[in-house]
Amino acid sequence: MNDPRGDHLSVVVDLSPTQWHLSALQPPANVYPLPLSSFLSQLLAFLNSHMACKHENTLAVFGALPGKSVMLYSSTNPAKNLQVMDSNSYPPFKLVDTTVVTRTAEELDALGDPDEEEPLGLVGAMTKALCYINRITLPPAQIPGKKQGISNSLVMPEPRILVLSVSPDHATSYIPIMNSIFSAQKLKVTIDVCQLYGPETVFLQQAAHLTGGSYIHLERRDALLQYLIMSFLPPPSIRKVLSVPTQDKIDFRAACFCHKTIVDVGFVCSVCLSIFCQPVPVCSTCRTKFPIKTLQRLNASRPPPNATNTTRTTTGTPVPQSASNPTTPALTQPTSTNGSSVHRPAQARSSLSQQSSM
C-alpha cells in the first residue's frame, strides 16, 4: 500500500486476574498453559511488529480490569516519565514495552485482593478505544487550539480494534456491547477478536462479524504469536488476498432483559423490541400491556423447559447449539404445509401437559 498515512491499531487486553490464573494452570487443567507473563511477551512482539510495518502506524493499548478500564499506552500521548534507554534495543520498541509492562503491573497491583471480583470493564475499554479513534480521526480543523495534534489527526484509512479476551460473556453487558458495535460500524472501525481462554463468546463473535473483522477461538495456545501475526497484523484490505482463518459458526443469541440469561428463542415486545425469556404480561421497559390472548397462546406453544430440542437433535443433549446437525433438516420434506402439521401436535401436547399440571 502506498498510502502515506499509517494504520491505527487499538488493542484491548482482558486483564482479569482470576481468568489469567486459570489460564496458567499446568496440565491436566490446560493442555497448553498460557501464563500472563508469557502472553505479555508475545503481545509485545506483536505490538512491535505493528510499529515496524510502517513508520506512520499508530498504536494504543487499553486494559480491561475488574470494575474499570485504563489506557496503558498510546502513541499520541507518550509516557510522561521516560525510562533510561537501553543501548541494545530500538528506542520506540523499548518505550512501548516498558510502558505497557509497567502500567499493567501497576494496575494489577492496585487491584488489591478482593474476595469477589467485580465484572470486567471490557465495555469501558472498548468504548474508550472508540472515543480515542474518534478523536484521532477527526479532521484537523475540528480540534480547537491544538497545533501539535494536527499531524496525528489525518484521517486514518483503516482503524481497527483487536480484543484479546480470556473471560466468558457477561450477559449484563449485552446492550452496551451492541451499542459499541454499531458505533464501530458508523466509524468504519473493524473489530478483531481473539478468545485466548475459556468458552466461545457470543457477543464478541457478533462484534467481529458485524464489523467485518476476524474472530479466532485459540486452541493451540502455545502458538499465540503466530496466530496474532498471521491473522491480525495485516490490515483488513490486505486480508482479502491472504488466507486468514475464516469465522466459524456465528451465534446470534441475545441476552434477555429480565434475567440477563442468553437465549436463542425469546419473546419480544413489538413496541420497544425488548427481549424476555418467558411470556410476560407487561413490558418492563416501556410498560406496554400485552393482550391476554397472546399470553395464553405463547404459554401454550412454549415447550416444557426440559424438553427443548430433544425431538430433533440426534444426541438429545440439552445444549442446542453444540448439538446442531445441519444435515438432518435437509432430509425432511421442506414444504410449509408439512411444517404446520409438524408443529401442531407439539402444541397440543404441551397444552395438555399444562392442563394436567394445573
Binding site: 489506557m71 498510546s74 500521548n77 465495555v123 469501558g124 468504548t127 474508550k128 472508540l130 472515543c131 474518534n134 478523536r135 477527526l138 480543523a141 480540534i143 480547537p144 453487558s173 452496551p176 451492541m178 451499542n179 459499541s180 458495535i181 454499531f182 458505533s183 458508523k186 475464516t246 459458526k249 456465528i250 451465534d251 446470534f252 443469541r253 441475545a254 436463542d264 428463542v265 425469546g266 419473546f267 419480544v268 413489538s270 413496541v271 420497544c272 423490541l273 425488548s274 427481549i275 411470556p279 413490558c283 406496554t288 393482550p291 406453544s301 430433533r312 437433535t313 447449539q321 446442531s324 446437525n325 444435515t327 433438516p329 435437509a330 421442506p334 414444504t335 410449509s336 409438524v342 408443529h343
Partner: protein, 446 residues
C-alpha cells in the same frame, strides 16, 4: 459545515447554469436540452414557490444558524462554527427525550426512476441528483425509526427493472448501493411493470406478518410495459404489498390507482421542499400513522408480544446441505434455533416449525433509545481543579489548564463534562460522540 453548505445554497438559488460532471453522457444531456423550454418554465414556477415558502423548517433553521456566526479575533470562522455545532448538539441532548415507539418489521423496496426524464432541471440541480440526495436522507431516517426493517433498491431504466441494492437491514449497505452516481446514470424509458415485478419477487420470502411496501419515485409521464400492468397490480393486492408513489412531474392515472388499491399514499411534488416532505411522510410505519390520527392513546392496540428465534449462522465453508426454503444445496445459511432447519435469508418464518427468525443485532439497533446515556453535567470554572483528573477519561486528551475567557452558555469554560453516574470527566468531543454515537458511558458502562 456552514461555509460549505452556503456554497451549495448559493448554487441552488443562482440562475447560473450549474456545471455537472456529465462529460460522459452527452446523449442524455442533449435530450435534456431539447426539453429545456418546458423545463425552464416549470422551474420558474417551482422556484417562485420555494421562495415564498420559507416555512420549511430545514430552510428556517439553516438561515438562522448562518446569521449568528461571527468571526473570532484572528478573523477565522472556525471557533464560531465549532461552538455552534457543540451548542446545537448540546441543546438537543438537554431536551426532554420524547417517548420513542418502534413498531414491527417493515420491508421496503425503493423504486427509483432512472429514466431520461430524471435529467430535467425543474428541481435543482437535477431531479436525479435531488432524488439521490433525499433518498440518502430518507434511508437514514427510516432505519432510525424502523430498526428491524430492511430496504432494497430497484431502479427503472431502459425499459427494465434493475436490482441496485439487495434487501438489507444495514443502513451502510443500502447507502453504499446508491453512493456511486455514475453507475445510476439515467437512460431510456421507465417500465413500472417490470420494476414492480422485480420488487415483488425480492420480497417473496418474507415472514407473513411483516409489512411489504414499495415506494416509487417517478419522474416520467409514461411507462413502457411488456404486459398488462393491471395484472401486476392485482397480484400486489393479493400479496398485500402496499405501493406508494411520489411523482415529480404530474399525476398519472395508473399511479393513483396503484396507491388507492393497495392502500398506499400518492403525492405529486410541487417543489424541492414538498418532495422531501412527501418522502418523509412515509418514514413512520403505516399502523402508527393510523393510530396517531386517531389520537394515540396510552394503550397501543397494535402492541403484542412476539416469539422470535435467534439463529446460528453457518460459515461459508461448512459442509453443504439442502435449505428448506429453496431445496438448494449450499454451505451458507442460518439454523432455526428450535428445529435446526437450514434457512437462506433472515428475517423469515421457519418453513418447518413456523418460528419467526430474526437477527438479534437488528433488534439491538434500537436499544440506545430505551436506555440513553444521562446528559453530562457541565463543570464550571469555579470548581477546584487541583485534585481532578488531568485528562479526558475516554480519549486521554489533557484538559486545558486555564479556563477559556469566553465561554458561551451550555459550554464548560474548562472543557470538562461530568457523568452524573460515575463522576468521571470527559472532553466536549467525547461528550458529543458518546451521546450521539456510542450511547454508552466509558466510565460506568451504562
Amino acid at each position: 459545515m456552514p461555509p460549505r453548505r452556503d456554497a451549495e445554497y448559493m448554487d441552488v438559488d443562482s440562475d447560473s447554469d450549474i456545471s455537472l460532471p456529465d462529460d460522459d453522457y452527452d446523449g442524455s444531456r442533449a435530450k435534456g436540452k431539447g426539453r429545456s423550454k418546458t423545463g425552464e418554465r416549470k422551474s420558474e414556477k417551482g422556484k417562485g414557490k420555494a421562495k415564498d415558502n420559507q416555512a420549511y423548517t430545514w430552510e428556517a433553521s439553516y438561515a438562522r444558524s448562518w446569521d449568528t456566526v461571527q468571526e473570532d479575533e484572528a478573523g477565522s470562522l472556525q471557533t464560531s462554527v465549532e461552538e455552534l455545532l457543540a451548542r446545537g448538539r448540546r441543546r438537543r441532548l438537554l431536551a426532554p427525550a420524547a417517548a420513542v415507539r418502534r413498531t414491527i418489521i417493515r420491508h421496503l423496496i425503493l423504486l427509483l426512476d432512472l429514466s431520461s426524464s430524471m435529467m430535467d432541471r425543474d428541481m435543482r440541480p437535477t431531479r436525479f441528483d435531488l432524488m439521490l440526495q433525499y433518498a440518502r436522507e430518507f434511508i437514514v431516517e427510516w432505519f432510525d425509526q424502523n430498526p428491524l426493517g430492511q430496504i432494497g433498491i430497484v431502479g427503472m431504466r431502459a425499459g427494465l427493472g434493475e436490482k441496485i441494492g439487495h434487501m438489507s437491514g444495514n443502513p451502510q449497505d443500502v447507502l453504499k448501493a446508491i453512493s456511486e452516481r455514475h453507475k445510476l446514470e439515467p437512460v431510456g424509458e421507465p417500465s413500472l411493470q417490470n420494476a414492480i415485478e422485480m420488487a415483488k419477487s425480492t420480497m417473496s420470502h418474507l415472514p407473513t406478518h411483516s409489512s411489504r411496501e414499495i415506494l416509487v419515485v417517478f419522474g416520467s409521464l409514461t411507462t413502457c410495459d411488456p404486459g398488462n400492468i393491471h395484472d401486476t397490480l392485482d397480484t400486489c393486492v393479493k400479496n398485500k404489498i402496499r405501493i406508494s408513489v411520489v411523482a415529480l412531474a404530474a399525476e398519472m392515472k395508473i399511479c393513483r390507482e396503484m396507491c388507492d388499491k393497495t392502500g398506499g399514499q400518492f403525492g405529486v411534488a410541487m417543489n424541492e421542499g414538498h418532495f422531501k416532505d412527501l418522502l418523509f411522510e412515509l418514514v413512520p410505519p403505516p399502523a402508527q400513522r393510523a393510530s396517531r390520527a386517531a389520537g394515540a392513546g396510552a394503550t397501543n392496540p397494535a402492541a403484542d408480544l412476539m416469539m422470535m428465534g435467534f439463529p446460528t449462522r453457518l460459515p461459508d465453508a461448512s459442509p453443504q446441505s439442502f435449505c428448506v426454503c429453496h431445496n438448494e444445496l449450499k454451505s451458507e445459511g442460518y439454523l432455526c434455533p428450535r428445529c435446526q432447519a437450514k434457512i437462506c435469508d433472515i428475517p423469515t418464518d421457519c418453513d418447518i416449525c413456523g418460528l419467526m427468525i430474526v437477527s438479534s443485532p437488528h433488534l439491538a439497533r434500537s436499544y440506545h433509545h430505551l436506555f440513553p446515556v444521562k446528559p453530562y453535567e457541565i463543570v464550571a470554572a469555579s470548581e477546584a481543579l487541583s485534585e481532578r483528573a488531568t485528562e479526558c477519561h475516554a480519549c486521554s486528551r489533557p484538559f486545558p489548564l486555564t479556563p477559556a475567557a469566553s465561554a458561551t452558555e451550555g459550554m464548560s469554560p474548562v472543557g470538562r463534562y461530568r457523568c452524573p453516574e460515575c463522576h468521571n470527566e470527559f472532553c466536549s468531543e467525547c461528550d458529543v460522540f458518546i451521546h450521539d454515537v456510542v450511547h454508552c458511558c466509558p466510565g460506568c458502562g451504562k
